[in-house]
């Protein structure tokens, strides 16, 4: 039996022996995606809407029903005068209000611009902007549904916005691919970072070093079993994205799995490099957290759009494989594009994995000290 195969079998024994850790390693990404997925999403539902309708009619009622039927809004109050809204906003009963003009129904019938005021609580500006957009969307849909009449060319002017790929503006579609990148990086890098330093700490490295095993065999033997664990995580996280978060996969699933595997590999290789340059599990873990956690949150474009960052941060972001994987995952899942558009990103990740593995082998000490 070759030395490499013996090493692989040994690593497999370790994993098998410690089933609990193996389960944690596989399931952690799934749980994290679930937690983060719900925590980070910026979608707003259950919007508390107040209505001011001084002259109720079939027309105003129809629009009110549209809001109620949109699924996002819940009409919490209906008051006759605008002044009555003040306490509702102040004590938080209402987040948003629509105020019909007294002459709304008549104006609409006559074809003159009908006045409709939308008031939004923008204490949280992002949520506020989102609510504004939701309300406008409902109004616009209502307007389209009105029977066309020559007397009314454009009764209410609503700015036209078109949103592609995520027409419902569901943030989970944006976040889940990014989350996958984030979670997989950290877990993968941690697995390899610990595996080599553990042997250094327990003294078994001394026995490995005296053996004829070559550095490349030790590195490959350490990375391969965790590649399998990482791939299991990729599979489970994808199933979760599909079933729990209903994120579509419009492109090729085999391609997505392949890219996931490649991404796990680059993260494992990174952990390996840290591991071969440090002497204790604790330092290696710190190293992984410091170098993967923040860059992958801030600079992968997963939460914060890279386009709005200063040029220097954008340049730094080019180095981070997470940035490219987020682009790949969004591309395949949401846009349904394939390698013809994603080959550059893929090539970069593959190249980086090769460089990191080579660096790990080079910086592996063949002696103690």
């Amino acid at each position: 039996m070759s030395a490499l195969r013996g090493l692989l079998r040994k690593e497999w024994f370790h994993i098998k022996r410690d089933r609990r850790t193996a389960t944690v390693l596989v399931m952690l990404p799934v749980v994290q995606v679930l937690l983060f997925g719900y925590a980070i999403r910026t979608d707003v539902d259950n919007v508390r809407l107040a209505v001011v309708d001084p002259a109720p009619s079939n027309t105003t009622l129809a629009l009110r029903n549209r809001f109620a039927a949109a699924g996002v809004f819940r009409i919490v109050a209906s008051v006759p005068r605008t002044e009555d809204l003040e306490p509702l906003f102040q004590n938080g009963t209402a987040q948003q209000a629509i105020v019909f003009d007294h002459d709304f129904t008549e104006d609409l019938g006559r074809g003159t611009p009908a006045q409709l005021l939308v008031i939004t609580d923008a204490t949280e500006p992002n949520t506020g902007a989102l609510l504004q957009a939701y309300a406008q969307a409902v109004i616009q849909q209502y307007q389209f549904a009105l029977p066309a009449s020559p007397a009314r060319p454009a009764s209410i002017i609503v700015p036209v916005t078109r949103i592609r790929f995520n027409p419902t503006r569901e943030s989970k579609n944006l976040f889940v691919p990014g989350l996958m990148a984030f979670v997989l990086t950290i877990i993968s890098a941690l697995m390899t970072a610990i595996s080599l330093t553990r042997e250094k700490e327990t003294g078994t490295m001394e026995a490995l070093l005296v053996s004829p095993l070559r550095p490349w065999e030790i590195i490959v033997g350490k990375v391969t079993p965790y590649l399998a664990i990482g791939f299991a995580s990729v599979l489970l996280v994808l199933v979760e994205a599909r079933l729990v978060f209903n994120v579509p996969v419009r492109g090729s699933i085999p391609l997505l799995l392949f890219e996931g595997l490649l991404y796990v590999l680059v993260s494992l290789a990174f952990g390996m490099l840290i591991s071969s340059r440090t002497s204790s599990q604790r330092i290696a873990m710190m190293g992984v957290f410091l170098t993967t956690l923040l860059p992958n949150i801030l600079l992968s474009g997963f939460i914060f759009p890279l386009e709005s960052m200063p040029a220097i941060l954008r340049w730094i972001s080019y180095v981070i494989p997470g940035r490219w994987f987020v682009a790949i995952a969004r591309g395949i899942m949401l846009k349904g594009i394939g390698l013809e558009y994603l080959w550059r990103e893929t090539l970069y990740i593959a190249g980086l994995a090769t460089v990191l593995l080579a660096a790990s082998i080079r910086s592996f000490h063949e002696r103690l000290e």
Partner: protein, 308 residues
């Protein structure tokens, strides 16, 4: 033929001198012991010889290989048991053995004859995790793992430290058998009484070799009269002996006091009577003194005193 040839090996760790001009050679088929207290440089020396460390100065040849330059070739041929337990505690006895065999491109079955004497002792525990073995069994497993690829030379760094007396004896019996098969073995130990089991020993202290000789040669070179003194109040008797005008040294040695005299050529029986009289007049009426043959430890103590 020489198996090891070391010339003026030096090694420093920051300001601590671990090895100071260490020169010696080991013959093929020899059971060679490095004996000395902890911190004497034994582990550093072993690590240099098995290619795990690079000396600051000096050179070595192990099986004709330079451990610095030809380390890859050397690692194929050397069996090494580190001072620290370096097996996988979560793997079973059998899995550990299988792993170390596979790393050298061989299998347990193929090497069975070589490891059989040890393996039969381990076999009842073959499915037990290495971490759950007793100290003695752990060391036997480690020896088995170091032997499984049929090395041409074996380095055992303090294999009997922390092991009970019975297991220690069993372990040395195993080493004796390996020697009979012609395997060159280098062992280190802090236990002076184990020197007797070696063909030749090197006494090591603070990075220096005090002497390299056969155990008999070492005790034979002890040229002072040696007495074993017993007294009820051992500590006070020891202090009293040190004030005796002819005393060369007096030190506790287990239950007794070992006493050496400056009158090198005087008959030992007369010295014993003299010492007894001296102690009786100093208030130790119960004291006894009788001649002893020196042990390796007496030699070690005498030589470290000379060095200091």
């Amino acid at each position: 033929m020489t198996a090891i040839e070391a010339k003026a090996l030096d090694k420093k760790f920051e300001t601590t001198v671990a090895l100071d001009k260490v020169t010696f050679s080991v013959e093929k088929g020899e059971l060679f012991g490095f004996i000395g207290p902890d911190g004497g440089g034994k582990t550093t020396l072993f690590r240099i010889l098995v290619s795990l460390m690079i000396p600051d100065a000096g050179s070595a040849r192990v099986l004709g290989f330079d451990p610095v330059r030809d380390y890859r070739a050397l690692r194929q041929r050397v069996g090494y048991m580190a001072g620290r337990f370096s097996l996988y505690p979560d793997l079973s006895v059998l899995e550990n053995l299988m792993f170390f065999a596979s790393v050298f491109g061989t299998t347990i079955e193929r090497e069975y004859e070589q490891i059989k004497p040890i393996y039969v002792q381990l076999e009842p525990f073959k499915d037990r995790r290495a971490g759950a073995l007793s100290g003695g069994m752990k060391q036997k497993l480690a020896l088995c793992c170091a032997l499984v690829h049929r090395p041409d030379i074996l380095f055992l760094d303090e294999p009997t430290t922390g092991v009970d007396a019975v297991s220690r004896r069993e372990f040395w019996d195993l080493l004796g058998r390996l020697k009979d098969q012609g395997l060159t073995t280098v062992v280190s130990t802090p236990y002076m009484d184990e020197a007797r089991r070696c063909d030749r020993v090197a006494l090591m202290h603070r990075g220096r070799l005090l002497v390299v000789d056969t155990p008999d040669g070492i005790t034979g070179a002890f040229d002072r009269p040696l007495l074993g003194v017993r007294a009820k109040d051992r500590y006070k008797a020891l202090l009293a002996l040190r004030t005796y005008e002819h005393a060369h040294s007096a030190y506790p040695f287990g239950e007794v006091i070992h006493y050496t005299d400056n009158r090198i050529d005087a008959p030992v029986d007369r010295l014993a009577a003299d010492v007894k009289t001296f102690l009786a007049t100093s208030g130790f009426g119960d004291a006894s003194a009788e001649p002893l043959t020196p042990t390796v430890e007496d030699s070690f103590i005498a030589r470290t005193e000379e060095a200091a």
